[in-house]
């Protein structure tokens, strides 16, 4: 069975190269049969890679420990969901999984475009197949997933216990879907550059792909944060680790692209910039994949070092070189007659939004690679840790939050004094008032005050937009508010879906601000029956109970939570001891409320004295971060579902001093 997997990868390698070359030849000599043959070969690559993936999955599920990968990343006692997750838990398996997603998306793209974009498609196929060819080369020659051992071990070494968590079963797939999804707009962009079809056809074709990739990048980052929050037990969710940064950077540039592309759709401007953003986003996804696998920068998330680094660097360099060369070649055609009716306009705001997003991406990139630069220049190893990233990114993040409020409601083309007054007077006043009220309430963390005030400002701008739309529908059609709201959203999904996404982003800012500025923590060692107070709650330690399964042994601390003398719950943080490999981990216990999470970790337990050390944290507003993610999902769903109305030309409502109602 395993031999089938190896064989499938070997044939797929040949076919991927064949598909790329035939597609290129077909496009160059205008041979339809060449192009058709290449497309069939691409579909065959997808089938073969799927077979290889299924083979590895079968080997994992059937515990074929003769296979090195299976012996290294699973065991017979590993629960089934984690056995499946082991497919992306190791180096070669994760590359295979990456490739499965890429070829599947490639197949969907081919099938979607059988009747359209026919001039672009051969080049799109070339790009996707060359990326697949690179990954297949790694899987066939550098880190093969189907290597046999000289003997069959009785038991596997098991999956890293830190990865044995629900969020780890969905975090990597989400992130990979995001990473790979960025390859589709990149392939179309390259196709557009090669063919000279530089209008917005390729942008319209890839709009949903880009949004989908952005959505999965968002989810991948959030799932990773949730995993860190629940598994690592340090009370936080983001540590600016190089691998976290690697996932964050393409999200930033992809967000910038989603905004700037609107200007191209509306005004046929920024074609060069949009190309740069697409190329940069894809390059950053490859850079992220390189970072996790090269060992160049130390990270707790890295895979074992494997010699893949130089190959990824060459691939990244070649990708950038070809892309930039094509971009320079097409510069004359890409140059558009850029015009802005006014400095004060939504176009200008979007340009500033792009500047800040790319600026944050650069700051994160710079901080991530600076230790390597420092070592190369000075020969001294330094650390660039969370304090650096927080100091640099906080002002930039707050600027972005401000622009989130301004962008959607300032007029397209030209914002008149009336437009500004009409759209911003109330939100600015509410933001200021909110900040002052919070200051009066005793908050003296000035970044937090600014952040909360800006959150109120942004929410007020969005609320006003919804309010006006609903009132207009009520006045004209006589609908009740709920119906008016639903119809308002359903008739312009892109615009109102975008607003909902912004609400999610504001909620995330609230969560990040709360945990960054007002976190409390305490470490205390207690005897059974002893109590301590935390964030207004009284916590009584009632002892530890021991449990054991064939996979893990664990201690559970029983901690009763009292509010005003009344027991409101019991929290049970655990200390786990995995048997293979022998490694202790923490399983935190959380009492989550909208205002704050009470977060408990069982640090240690002494069986003789029955004393336990508890680490307790109060994480204010952290649940807003996760609920913001849910709102973001809803907003993306609203945006991505097509309007039921027939396809329309891109809108650009003429400004009459009321651009706030102009369509997106």
């Amino acid at each position: 069975m395993v031999d089938i997997g190896s064989l499938a990868l070997a044939i797929a390698w040949v076919l991927a190269l064949y598909a790329a070359l035939m597609s290129l030849a077909g496009a160059y000599w205008r041979k339809r049969d060449f192009i058709a043959s290449a497309e069939h070969a691409s579909l065959a690559v997808w089938g073969l890679v799927t077979i290889a993936g299924a083979t590895l999955l079968h080997a994992l599920v059937t515990h074929d420990f003769n296979l090195e990968y299976v012996a290294h990343y699973s065991s017979s006692t590993l629960p089934l969901p984690y056995t499946i997750a082991a497919l992306w838990g190791g180096q070669s398996g994760s590359l295979l999984f990456w490739l499965m997603i890429l070829t599947s998306m490639g197949a969907v793209v081919l099938l979607q475009n059988r009747e359209c974009n026919r001039e672009l498609m051969p080049y799109v196929n070339v790009v996707l197949m060359l990326i697949a060819f690179f990954f297949l080369s790694m899987l066939n020659f550098v880190t093969p997933p189907f290597q046999r051992l000289a003997f069959t071990p009785a038991e596997g070494q098991d999956l890293n216990p830190l990865l044995q968590n629900y969020w780890m079963t969905i975090h990597p797939p989400a992130l990979y879907l995001g990473y790979v999804g960025c390859a589709v707009p990149f392939a179309f962009a390259i196709g557009a550059l090669v063919t000279g079809k530089l209008g917005d056809a390729w942008i319209r074709t890839t709009r949903r792909w880009t949004l989908l990739a952005w959505f999965f990048l968002s989810m991948g980052n959030l799932f990773g944060a949730q995993w860190a929050y629940l598994v690592l037990g340090w009370g936080g969710y983001w540590a600016w680790d190089p691998v976290e940064n690697a996932a964050f950077m393409p999200w930033l540039t992809c967000t910038a692209f989603l905004h700037s592309v609107m200007i191209q759709e509306k005004k046929n401007m920024l074609k060069i910039w949009n190309m740069v953003l697409v190329i940069l986003t894809f390059a950053l996804t490859i850079f992220g994949t390189f970072l996790t696998r090269s060992g160049v920068i130390s990270s707790v998330h890295s895979f074992t070092q494997s010699g893949l680094g130089p190959f990824f660097m060459i691939f990244l360099g070649a990708t950038l070189a070809v892309s930039v060369a094509l971009l320079i070649w097409r510069l004359p055609q890409l140059k558009s007659e850029n015009e802005l009716d006014s400095v004060l306009s939504r176009e200008s705001t979007f340009l500033l939004n792009n500047l800040v997003l790319v600026g944050i991406a650069f700051a994160v990139f710079w901080g991530t690679v600076f230790p390597v630069i420092s070592e190369a220049v000075r020969g001294i190893k330094i650390t660039v840790g969370p304090p650096f990233f927080n100091k640099v990114n906080t002002p930039l993040g707050l600027t972005l939050l401000f622009l989130t409020g301004v962008g959607p409601v300032i007029a397209w083309r030209r914002a008149s004094a009336r437009n500004l007054e009409r759209n911003f007077l109330l939100p600015v006043s509410l933001g200021l008032l909110g900040g002052i009220v919070l200051f009066s309430a005793g908050i003296r963390h000035y970044y937090a005050l600014l952040s909360f005030a800006l959150c109120i400002f942004v929410l007020a701008t969005i609320a006003m937009e919804f309010y006006r739309g609903i009132r207009a529908r009520q006045a004209m059609v006589g609908e009740n508010p709920a119906t008016a709201l639903l119809r308002l959203i359903s008739k312009n999904r892109r615009r109102y879906g975008g607003y909902i996404i912004h609400i999610g982003v504001v909620m995330m800012f609230l969560g990040i601000t709360g945990t960054s500025a007002f976190k409390e923590e305490k470490q205390i060692t207690l005897k059974p029956g002893e109590s301590f107070t935390m964030g207004g709650d009284t916590l009584r330690y009632d002892g530890v109970t021991a449990h054991e399964t064939k996979h893990i042994a664990y201690w559970t601390a029983n901690i009763a939570v009292f509010q005003d003398g009344r027991q409101v719950g019991t929290l049970q943080p655990e200390k786990r001891f995995y048997k293979k490999p022998e490694q202790p981990t923490t399983e935190v216990a959380i009492r989550s409320r909208p205002g704050a999470d009470l977060y408990l970790v069982l640090g240690s337990y002494d069986e003789a004295s029955k004393m336990a050390t508890i680490q307790a944290y109060i994480n204010p507003l952290v649940s807003w971060l996760w609920w913001g993610g849910v709102v973001l999902v809803i907003g993306t769903a609203v945006t991505i579902v097509p309007n039921r109305a027939p396809a329309r030309a891109p809108a650009y409502a003429p400004s009459r001093g009321r651009g706030a109602v102009a369509a997106d």
Partner: protein, 168 residues
């Protein structure tokens, strides 16, 4: 609530906000000058060397072979009455620069801090110049020459009309 009442509400709130700012501003403590050395601040300024990748403050490994001794050393240094800069200099000379959780602000390390903001300023200048040039270009043209706006969708037209009628 029509646009007039919205405006009145906004102006009222703005006046309230201005009055509150006037009242509270003299009472704002001057925090920037306060250079009190806090234990937590020092913990945050040092990186745990156990491989967790976190600061000494964030490392939650119980009995961590790196974080625990470092915390003891911080307490000992604070007990000597040293300033934050002196304490960090002590750790730097003892363990090397990698112990610091962020680059120093001297020599080559200054590049780490300056570069993101320098590029932002440069980018801001480029964007600013571009916006000015592009808006100037449009203003130089006669109305007939100006880039025609793409047609609004039927829905946008309806919404525009509804809003106009509603606010009339």
């Amino acid at each position: 609530m029509n646009s007039v009442s919205l405006k009145q509400t906004g102006l009222g709130l703005l006046c309230c906000a201005a009055a509150l700012v006037g009242f509270l501003l003299p009472r704002v403590p001057t925090v920037l000058g306060a250079a009190v050395v806090s234990f937590e601040d020092l913990e945050e300024s040092l990186t745990c060397q156990c491989g967790c990748g976190l600061t000494v403050h964030a490392c939650n490994h119980l009995h961590c072979p790196s974080a625990e001794p470092l915390r003891e050393e911080i307490r000992a240094q604070m007990a000597l009455g040293k300033s934050k800069a002196e304490i960090l200099a002590y750790f730097r000379s003892k363990y090397g620069e990698k112990i610091l959780s962020s680059p120093t602000t001297t020599g080559f390390n200054l590049v780490a801090w300056v570069m993101p903001f320098a590029l932002m300023i440069l980018g801001g200048l480029i964007v600013g110049v571009a916006i000015m040039r592009w808006s100037g270009r449009a203003q130089q043209k006669s109305p007939a020459e100006q880039q025609p706006a793409r047609p609004a969708s039927p829905y946008d037209k309806i919404l525009e009309k509804e809003l106009k009628d509603f606010e009339a």
